[in-house]
Symmetry: C2
Subunit: 293 residues, 2 copies
Amino acid sequence: MSLLGAIEAGGTKFVCGVGTADGTVVERVSFPTTTPEETMANVFSFFADKDIEAIGVGSFGPIDPVKGSPTYGCITTTPKPHWSNYNIVKALEERFGVPIGFDTDVNGAALGEYTWGAAQGLDSCLYITIGTGVGAGAVVSGELIHGLSHPEMGHIYVRRHPEDRYEGTCPYHADCLEGLAAGPSLGKRWGVPGAELTPDHPAWEMEAYYLAQALMNYVLILSPQRIVMGGGVMKQEHLFPMIRTKLQELLAGYVHHPSLRENIDQFIVPPQLGDNAGLCGAIALAKLALAEK
Amino acid sequence: MSLLGAIEAGGTKFVCGVGTADGTVVERVSFPTTTPEETMANVFSFFADKDIEAIGVGSFGPIDPVKGSPTYGCITTTPKPHWSNYNIVKALEERFGVPIGFDTDVNGAALGEYTWGAAQGLDSCLYITIGTGVGAGAVVSGELIHGLSHPEMGHIYVRRHPEDRYEGTCPYHADCLEGLAAGPSLGKRWGVPGAELTPDHPAWEMEAYYLAQALMNYVLILSPQRIVMGGGVMKQEHLFPMIRTKLQELLAGYVHHPSLRENIDQFIVPPQLGDNAGLCGAIALAKLALAEK
């Protein structure tokens, strides 16, 4: 049986897998991200004996996902040594001669949750991950968002919490959303890792304030039918009700929709694909590339 | 020759017109928005002797533009007397029996500029108007954004300027973007209408700061290929270079693209459709409705 190949290309590790067109992962391996040559040798070796019809890549970024652009397929200006301007799509096409789907890791995850996960059956959704960084991807009218390049929703500007004295971790913007709300900022602001803070610690009210602000802007700009929140920080399940309440407070009844009132528990939800989210997203990208062939 | 009908349904006045499929307006009339009965009688009368294949409506809001929804076609929760829950699409369909396109005024204008104006030939664009209020619409991969409902981008949350002591005009959010940057807030903050403030007045640095923040978030969330800025406040042409510079400062080189560096003069531009922008947008909506028939 023909299978779809999937690559979750992370800055720390690569996960490769094969799956079926219904999103089932049948095999997976993982190895550290070193140089492109060494890492891709492992990728080539994994897929060498697999009968794959297409490969999807959900990649760390920034990348150029715009077809027709001279640098399409590249990981572009990453500070990660050796990977800047590496064209991963070209490398895979030359090796395997099958259609290659290529997008950001978060756009991939959004497509995965949209196709088989928490947003299945809808026309639009937003996926946001809050972990070492903050990233988000979105599906609008069934399509992933591209334009000038790809979204970088984790770096939006937010209003500072009146009691927050922390300067922020983002090397570009200091106190953008990622700079104030990603996992590392929790640890640096409060002196202990977020996972060690009790649910009644004031850290969480502040965290919910920043994330609800981001969600407010995503709702007002994109109008997604569902928002899926994942990543390490969202393992703190008590954040979900706090974020829902803060979002309602911030919107102040402006957008009239049951999803923002009585149905908000089904509007802001955790991911459903668990540890296979990245791979499922890449399978969805492979499936898309095959359909567009 | 068959023509397309266009309605710019505003809260103060209705503009009706007919045009050709290349966006040329051949006739237009305008009348005040009173009750739905009286206003629609004028609409019906204008189109009665026209040979129209479809009608497009760019409407004041909020509206329900989601096909299949029970309230599709309605102007929903407007405070404007008599118009709340009025189904303008149904009224037009029953009267004329032709396909009706229906969207927000700003989504219509975005589609108009995308089809015949400042964003012609691209795949995506954002149109923002800064006047009595702030509103924006966007085209992504050739499609207008819909989801839960329609975007309400004028009400995003922004960081306050450190020297701004004005509380904001928005009845829902006080100091959201519209509350701080729409025309009326200029007049209330500085004591004279914006049009009377000289180009070197500090009002404009503050205004550019708020609008550049909004553009930063739009760029990071939607990645549009061009941003078209219109409305009364943008008649102050000196705002364009100020906003471009502020946007570059805020992004701090994070998004690497010529459109955000050396080509920024072609990235943030005024509208090209002038006084016919609303009607051209509605013609574009009519054309879309005809194509989807």
